[in-house]
């Protein structure tokens, strides 16, 4: 009986944590009413190094970001894609993708970057059982979805916000590092047969 009540408590806590998530974790909007993740970072790293690092980062993220262009000498633009997953425990499938723009501007002693123009494209299962984009024109993520798809749309906004925060954190770590950031390899566990 104790086990059952503990389990129910655990479920309630998980549910509560999940229920509180959407309200506090949706991106703010800019002056045009578009979702934006915006951050200014002050640093002591010289401007030239920041430039090299920013371009290096944008060009290395093959799957997440595609480097598009440089605007002048100190501004750089990339486009990105987030896959939205519908996941329950260890199974799930992609339900759509969010396309966005990523921009960086470098100045002496600081840089700023922002993610904006988020557009959602729903996926549809094709005849071969693969999930593919059902349209080529996305719907702005700020749009009100109407009552019918409200909860689903909120979930897309929450997942996008989480992703934007994670991408921002990774970008800042890269920009602050002297050497290219390499993910540390996991230590191998050695099993000894001595007994």
């Amino acid at each position: 009986m104790k086990f059952v009540s503990s389990f129910i408590c655990l479920l309630c806590l998980v549910g509560l944590a999940k229920a509180q998530k959407p309200a506090e974790s949706i991106l703010p909007v800019d002056e045009h009413g578009k979702f934006i993740y915006y951050e200014v970072v002050n640093t002591k790293i010289p401007k030239d190094s920041l430039k090299i690092r920013a371009v290096g980062y944008l060009k290395k993220q093959n799957k997440e970001l595609k480097y598009k262009s440089a605007q002048g000498d100190t501004a750089f633009v990339a486009s990105g894609k987030i896959i939205i997953n519908k996941t329950l425990l260890v199974v799930g499938h992609p339900s759509g993708e969010v396309l966005f723009d990523f921009q960086v501007e470098i100045r002496d002693g600081k840089y700023r970057f922002w993610l904006t123009d988020f557009n959602f494209i729903p996926y549809q299962r094709d005849r071969y059982g693969n999930f593919v984009a059902s349209t080529s024109i996305g719907t702005p993520l700020e749009n009100e979805p109407g009552k019918l798809n409200n909860s689903q749309w909120k979930e897309y906004q929450v997942q996008t916000t989480q992703y934007a925060k994670e991408l921002a954190a990774k970008f800042k770590v890269y920009m602050a590092s002297k050497a290219p950031v390499i993910a540390p390899s996991k230590e191998k566990t050695v099993v000894k047969k001595e007994w």
Binding site: F3, V4, F7, L10, V14, N85, T87, L89, V90, V91, G92, H93, P94, Q124, R125, D126, R127, Y128, G129, N130, F131, T135, S136, I137, T139, N143, P145, G146, L148, N149, S151, Q152
Partner: protein, 344 residues
């Protein structure tokens, strides 16, 4: 004790979620569909595939698909159960078309290997690359299907390679068994190909060709054009045109269908299908043609889509056996249907 074990497993599942997110998850998806149809002549006149039972709340199918990708290799396994995916599909588990068999139907069962970003190969039993509409109701805008769809092919077992020259052009070539069969009765007998071109953003066209042993035992050649253009965020236009010729003059058809669709909101769309289909006369006999127009709505709420639909068919050559409510022959047929399709 059993409840405790079950809860322990659930708790373990919750606990392992974070770990599992690092790995490519097993994809589970599928659909469930059901419908009501009423033919205004009070008999099931329109015989195209699915939605054919008169004045009955009837079943479509439950469709279950698994997909797993590990590195460059992946597999897809998709099975369906229910009238749409059993007796009304070809073949059933016994490998034969039999209305009385109550089995399951394999929609897809294949493995794929991506040798590079540009070249991949797949082998197994796959949904056909020919045509606009598919068996799964999730893949179609209209619930009832076209004459072009009903003439097949539905699936092809074989091996195929696809090379993507760019995002805008790709070519698929493959060798296949006879159409709609799990295994070959006369060896690998068909060759097929698909050229995909995407001239502008939102417009994709597939030019398909397949030659070989068809589902009726004839050596046939089908040429098919399937294309769709998302002209604006609200308006989409689709087109399917096909010609099939049996080398020994036993069977053949030509058809064209146009699919304009307008999305009033992301959740509410209206679409039309206009189709002209011509059965080629066998051994010098006269052709017979049918025309059909279908208005469908798509109202989405989460995973659920309601599809109200009205359809009018014209059969000037009396090839379809339409009848009036008095059972006298008729050149026209019309029906209303309401389908509910849940995709997960």
């Amino acid at each position: 004790m059993k409840i405790k074990s079950l809860l322990s497993l659930l708790a373990l599942g919750l606990g392992t979620t974070a770990y599992a997110q690092d790995a490519t998850p097993l994809q589970i998806s599928g659909s469930v569909d059901t419908y009501y149809k009423y033919d205004f002549s009070k008999t099931g006149n329109i015989k195209t595939y699915f939605a054919n039972e008169q004045n009955s709340v009837s079943l479509g199918m439950i469709d279950l698909a698994l997909k797993k990708t590990t590195g460059k290799a992946s597999f897809v396994g998709e099975l369906s159960f229910g009238p749409r995916g059993q007796a009304q599909s070809i073949p059933n588990a016994a490998g034969a078309y039999d209305e009385t068999e109550n089995s399951f139907h394999i929609q897809n069962l294949y493995v794929n290997y991506a040798f590079s970003d540009k070249f991949s190969m797949a082998a197994g039993y796959m949904g056909t690359f020919v045509g606009y509409e598919v068996i799964s109701p999730v893949g179609n805008f209209n619930y009832s299907t076209s004459y072009l769809f009903g003439s097949g092919p539905f699936q092809n077992a074989g091996i195929k390679g696809t090379y993507a020259f760019s995002d805008k052009v790709s070519l698929m070539l493959g060798l296949f068994n006879e159409w709609n069969q799990y295994s070959a009765s006369r060896g690998v007998s068909s060759v097929g190909g698909q050229l995909m071109i995407s001239p502008v953003k939102g417009w994709t066209a597939y030019i398909n060709g397949l030659h070989g042993l068809d589902a009726y035992g004839n050596y046939s050649t089908i040429i098919d054009l399937t294309t769709a253009y998302q002209i604006t965020d609200k308006f989409k236009l689709g087109l399917n045109a096909a010609d099939l010729s049996a080398g020994d003059d036993k069977f053949g058809y030509t058809g064209v269908a146009l699919y304009p669709q307008y999305a009033f909101t992301p959740a509410v769309s209206l679409g039309l299908r206009g189709e002209y289909f011509n059965y080629k006369g066998v051994s010098g006999a006269a052709d017979a043609s049918v025309a059909a127009i279908t208005f469908s709505g798509n109202i989405k709420a989460g995973g659920l889509t309601f599809i109200p639909e009205v359809r009018f068919d014209s059969d000037k050559d009396l090839s379809q056996g339409f009848v009036k409510s008095s059972l006298a022959p008729s050149k026209t047929a019309s029906q209303f249907s309401l389908a509910a399709v849940y995709a997960f």
